[in-house]
Symmetry: C2
């Protein structure tokens, strides 16, 4: 790219941001009016509003509702260029990135916000059996699997086979797992109720498995209890204090029990992006970069790691939570540092403002907290809705999502129940 | 399925409809209150509003806007069961269907509305280079290719390579080809205008190639001329009277000229579903069943073929056009025949009511006709919009599409500009 006959001469300080998630996006936006050359590189062409991704997986929203082209977001930000590409390696010494297509991209400041993928704790063979939920493709795959399961159950003549197709296991009782379990319970017990002739989707069994003693571990204990009760009211079987020891095509081994299930969804563990390994610095157990108080890496005040890719220690001595507000605040903090080009010694450490947490369970059901205040029920559910609508990046998506939600609220239907591929045909086991 | 322990005893006349397109859907709906057992089999789980599919391919609409789950449509129609499956063969003698998974489905009446796929006139090797537009997957594939082309053009250092990525060839000047060419011109010359830094999407060249002497061959000549002018105003190069003789990775051979292009879209030929071959009856050149005046097949008054799968001769002695109104009217006609179980001898022949045609070219630009009346410009464009909104099956989609269109009209943006996969990385040719 350097010396390209078509590229402009780079006379400004070059800031390269890898990853267009909450961290990278907010960092780039903070640099809006700076006299800098900003280059944003992402594997995808869009920013994804990940907190609502489970709604794509559960057929309530379309991908375009929660994803916005990065180019569109930065169309009017003249100092910023967006390219779609994969960064393979950071060359700290020569201050440049190596892209998968062979391009080299030099930088003066580098911000890494490449996020995390799901981790199977060394059991990578589970991945095809229990897909996780990080990208639009993941969500569409899960949506397709869920919908096809009901189709298969309707078609098979074997009662046992039908039951297996109607059983769901969600592994991991954090917000994603809780929200996914609630959404599947709604699909099975409400949305699809009248849609089938031979099967009764209400007979579907949904299991939520969490290794810790309670669901939503980072939430206050009372709210975890409330979430559990709400889930159980919706027909979800909540299993805590049990570990998944095996996943097969037939189902999931949970402690001493084997649960037959045709659909398993992984919402349990994360591992940070492999790009961090090329930094050659200490990483934590989840593969995240151990960053300094100014979010830079040791000996390289010009390289920052933010969001789910970083392990940043809060004032309580614990790592900051891997949630959107952390990434957003870090992105803005770094943006300001770079804009003013503050030298390492003068940088004030990053301060995290804890916005609490909120998780929705189903219609009119949610739990949330902010400092010592707890919310639950319809009030929490409304707050959840407003927060998510408010943060959706572009206005068009806000209207679209509100429309979809209003429709869904009034009718109980889910608009995006599409199976794009043909059903995989093989003679049924009889 | 027969004698299944879980299936109900079939004491009613069994009507099996293969294909949930315009024909099959309307046939099943007409049978709503009949004392019959209706089984609708489709490869997909949704009815697709195909006339708007090009808007998914051109990133203006999301798949869920124009596709509705078949189960949802028939949720309240008690006599109708929907299954997702692929029919491999019709056994006329034993009056049953053989499904790909080995199931056998008996019928008393059989309605085949399996539509058509695109045909490459014996050059099947062109398919990966020039995808056609029939299913949601097709549309998403084309959308991805178009968007990735602009990304690649932005990234490459070679001017020649960039130009190739910015050139588009649409083969086939019927309504789909015309609408697709107009939509790509809008994307390239309007939507993406501010989105790129290194390339100028306005430099994109869009070619529409038609073998006949004019675009929109079934339309009145004056309207073809108007469509051509509208397209040319939008920057589309219209080539008529020329045949495509080869397609390679580098571009398209059109007559004596080779057009370098990274994106080729096929909107030229159709071939009816291969299921028709198993009927063992005369087919026309496009593989369509030659049906009798009551749309049944020779010697089998209980088997009907409708829509794009049928070649039905109109009163002018020519085959009826392969458009949605034909399929809709045929589906309803067959539905009434079956509802009253009219014996072959007493059936009045199917009468086609010609609704004319309409094609949109771009914002405020369309051409249409109904009998001797011609429409063009903004008036035709508004009529086009109303017709399409009106016919969209479910109310929710109508709102969604209107919203997307209003947004698009006011802002010129396209909401669904998503690339789900990573860009295919290979060292750029330099």
């Amino acid at each position: 790219m350097e010396g390209s006959p078509r590229g402009k001469l780079m006379i400004y300080t070059r800031v390269v941001i890898v990853g267009g998630g909450f961290g990278g996006l907010n960092c780039a936006k903070t640099l809006k009016k700076a006299n800098l050359d900003v280059l944003l590189i992402d594997k995808k062409n869009h920013h994804l509003f990940q907190p609502l991704l489970y709604q794509v997986a559960s057929a309530a929203l379309s991908p375009a509702d929660i994803a916005t082209p990065l180019r569109e977001i930065f169309a009017d930000q003249k100092n910023t260029t967006v390219i779609m590409g994969t960064v393979d390696q950071v060359d700290k010494k020569n201050r440049k990135l190596l892209l998968q297509n062979g391009d080299e991209v030099p930088y003066d400041y580098l911000v890494i916000g490449t996020g995390a993928r799901h981790s199977y704790f060394g059991n990578d063979q589970w991945e095809p059996l229990a897909p996780g939920l990080k990208t639009v493709v993941d969500a569409l795959k899960i949506r397709e699997r869920i919908l096809i399961s009901f189709e298969k159950a309707e078609r098979t003549d074997s009662i046992q086979e039908a039951e297996r197709h109607l059983n769901f296991v969600i592994i991991g009782g954090g917000p994603t797992g809780v929200e996914m379990a609630g959404a599947i319970a709604e699909i099975a017990h409400k949305t699809l109720f009248k849609n089938f002739r031979r099967i009764n989707p209400e007979k579907s069994k949904i299991y939520l498995v969490e290794g810790a003693p309670r669901v939503l571990p980072p939430f206050p204990e009372k709210l975890s209890e409330r979430a559990r009760k709400d889930l159980e009211k919706m027909g979800v079987r909540v299993i805590t204090n049990e570990l998944v020891t095996n996943i097969t095509e037939e189902g999931v081994q949970v402690g001493d029990d084997f649960i037959e299930a045709g659909n398993v969804i992984w919402a349990a563990g994360n591992i940070a992006s492999p790009l961090l390994k090329t930094l050659d610095i200490p990483l934590d157990r989840q593969g995240r970069a151990m960053v300094e108080p100014d979010l830079s890496i040791p000996d390289h005040p010009e390289i920052f790691v933010i969001g789910d890719a970083a392990c940043s220690i809060g004032k309580d001595g614990k790592p900051l939570p891997a949630v959107a507000p952390t990434a957003i605040q870090q992105g803005r903090y770094i943006g300001k540092l770079i804009r003013r080009q503050i030298p390492k010694k003068k940088r004030r450490p990053f301060k995290y403002f804890d916005k609490g947490g909120i998780a929705t369970i189903g219609k009119n059901k949610a739990v949330g907290f902010f400092k010592a205040i707890h919310f639950k029920g319809i009030f929490a559910w409304l707050i959840w809705g407003f927060i998510h609508i408010f943060y959706l990046v572009n206005y068009r998506s806000q209207f679209g999502v509100m429309l979809d939600w209003t429709f869904h609220y009034l009718t109980g239907l889910r608009g995006a129940r599409l199976i794009h591929k043909s059903i995989k045909e093989r003679p049924d086991k009889k």
